[in-house]
Symmetry: C2
Subunit: 353 residues, 2 copies
């Protein structure tokens, strides 16, 4: 991950909001620093939110986005959650498409490569009183990225942590706010010192997310009718990820016979509470087949082991890093994202916006 | 509150941190905008923290701070919590004193007026990968302020809220991070629409904080040996406020006979869990004598009522807004802060730094 996300393209989109005049005319202008009053709400009270999206170059040489309406809707919900002004999601999507077209030459064409898109909204009210920001800056920046794993998927080691808690009922874990991330950096540093790649965030005994990814497990069924694929339910502590939603949708279509995921048997999806106790029991019984994290950056990342107070829980090893379910989902997602497979209008062309 | 915190003084203190060179030479320079890369950690992941302090003009014409070592220690703990680089708290305090001396003419001299000091540290790493910021900017800005209540203390109405939660075990409520504030703005707006001034934050049935203040209640004792003064304990969900600590210290000194707070009887301080059920029962029994919020901005603010699902809980009215305990604490604090009373080196002169 560290190689990517350091370089941006030549241009950025900027729109500002003032209470008296509303949103300004949008500008696509040369990438450059933001100039802000030191009192600004974004520095003092963290009224900041963002989205993560990608533009892919299709085999037709045309840039396309992946389910961008989902990101726009989530961005709008995030803005509302921190009392920033509402915006027109369709107009923003049109502007993002135009920006991508202008920066088309920056989209890497190799498989697994894309142009990462980071829409950001920050509160810019310049006053120290503890209150909502009635001024805002919306900007979109772009950064070319390659695959999360340079040499094919390598299973991640996760450290299960419950002394620090990422999200809580009544908190903001279900929104994509910048403020959900800073509290994870110190625990992440401690986990890295212990030799783990990422944290598996717990709430009590319940599993919530893996690093900044949604978490899935594949479980052997007693009736041999395919497998269970389980992810924590959206109870307000879980980010409603676009990749999460998409793998659930694909498995649903597979089960209904609308598509076939690499000849796999039935995949019974379940959105429900998952606990460490359950995972440990399943592992001991040999029923924990696969675990993975999903998200825009990683797409699908295999989990090799989970460190917990009672010892490491080891997942079965697979030749390609990912197990059969994770691999089939990763393959299908990448094929749709990169435009080799058409599926339910998930791929959205940027041209003509 | 809205009148204040809009104007800053002419100068600000700025120091930056780079991993290869450490902290830069500090600069006191004209107040002006910060120029930052749009990818900066402060915008994207909210690696931001601050302190609230005040400089008061003493009757000797000398500017002084109030227990500034406590703010410096808390700022250092906050920086550690979001994995920002450590800094020399003594050196920073010296620089703040120098900045205050340079801006001395901005300190209002009327009683209840002061120069608000806002030390801020923001993460400035310019990269989109989700990771700790290894670059930082520390700055201190100043803003002249007057009393929270222009025409004497007016009892606040609080709406008790538990569907949104300010802080939780394993979260960051015990640190002064910018990210603790943005999630409160939408609930605060909803509370204002219902006619309440501020929110009383609950965690389940337990009271945690009032708006951005620590919360205290005064309770009638069955044995008539003075009163109980209770505030939620520092369990990680409560900000360890300097004003909170100071009123606890003053009551301790009063009970030990080292000082006398306005001829009051014994004040038995308790740091423990306080629930809404307990407050409702005490109120029905006529034992809930006073409630107030304390903090650097308000000093001591009276609470007149608390709205809760089962109806409003009304506190006894007092001629001066504040009851006898709140008023005695407010009076003593202001006298120490403004240099009319010397107490245990709490007042620290800025000159000669």
């Amino acid at each position: 991950m560290s190689r990517w996300f350091l370089v941006t393209t030549d241009h950025m989109l900027v729109v500002s909001f003032e209470p008296s005049t509303g949103w300004s005319a949008p500008e696509i202008k040369p990438y450059g620093p933001l100039s802000l009053d030191p009192m600004s709400s974004c520095f003092q009270y963290c009224t900041n939110l963002f989205e993560g999206m990608k533009a892919y170059m299709g085999p037709d040489g045309k840039p396309r986005l992946f389910r961008p309406d989902k990101n726009m809707a989530r961005l709008a919900r995030s803005a509302e959650r921190v009392a920033l002004p509402p915006f027109n999601t369709e107009a923003l999507l049109t502007l993002i498409k135009r920006l991508v077209m202008i920066e088309k030459r920056w989209i890497p064409t190799a498989e697994g490569h894309s142009l990462y898109i980071r829409p950001t909204i920050i509160g810019t009210r310049a006053a120290l009183g503890v209150a909502a920001s009635d001024q805002a800056l919306l900007y979109v920046i772009l950064s070319p990225t390659g695959p999360y794993f340079r040499t094919g998927p390598k299973p991640l080691s996760l450290l299960a942590v419950n002394e620090n808690v990422r999200a809580w009922p009544g908190g903001t874990g279900g929104h994509k706010l910048g403020l959900n991330y800073a509290p994870g950096f110190l625990p992440q540093r401690l986990a890295a010192k212990k030799g783990y790649d990422q944290i598996l965030w717990l709430l009590g005994d319940a599993v919530t997310e893996a690093g900044a990814m949604n978490f899935f497990v594949v479980i052997k069924r007693d009736d041999e009718d395919g497998m269970d694929v389980v992810t924590p339910e959206l109870d307000g502590t879980i980010l409603p990820g676009v990749t999460r939603m998409s793998v659930l949708d694909l498995m649903q279509a597979h089960n209904e016979g609308r598509t076939s995921l690499n000849g796999l048997p039935k995949l019974h999806t379940q959105e429900r509470k998952v606990t460490m106790s359950e995972l440990q029991k399943l592992s001991e019984e040999g029923k924990l087949l696969e675990a993975y994290g999903v998200g825009t950056a990683v797409i699908v990342a295999p989990v090799g082991k989970v460190g917990f107070e009672s010892g490491d829980l080891t997942l079965p090893a697979h030749e390609k890093g990912l197990g059969p379910v994770g691999n089939a989902l990763w393959r299908r997602l990448v094929d749709i994202q990169e435009g080799r497979v058409q599926w339910e209008n998930w791929g959205v062309l940027c041209e003509g916006a």
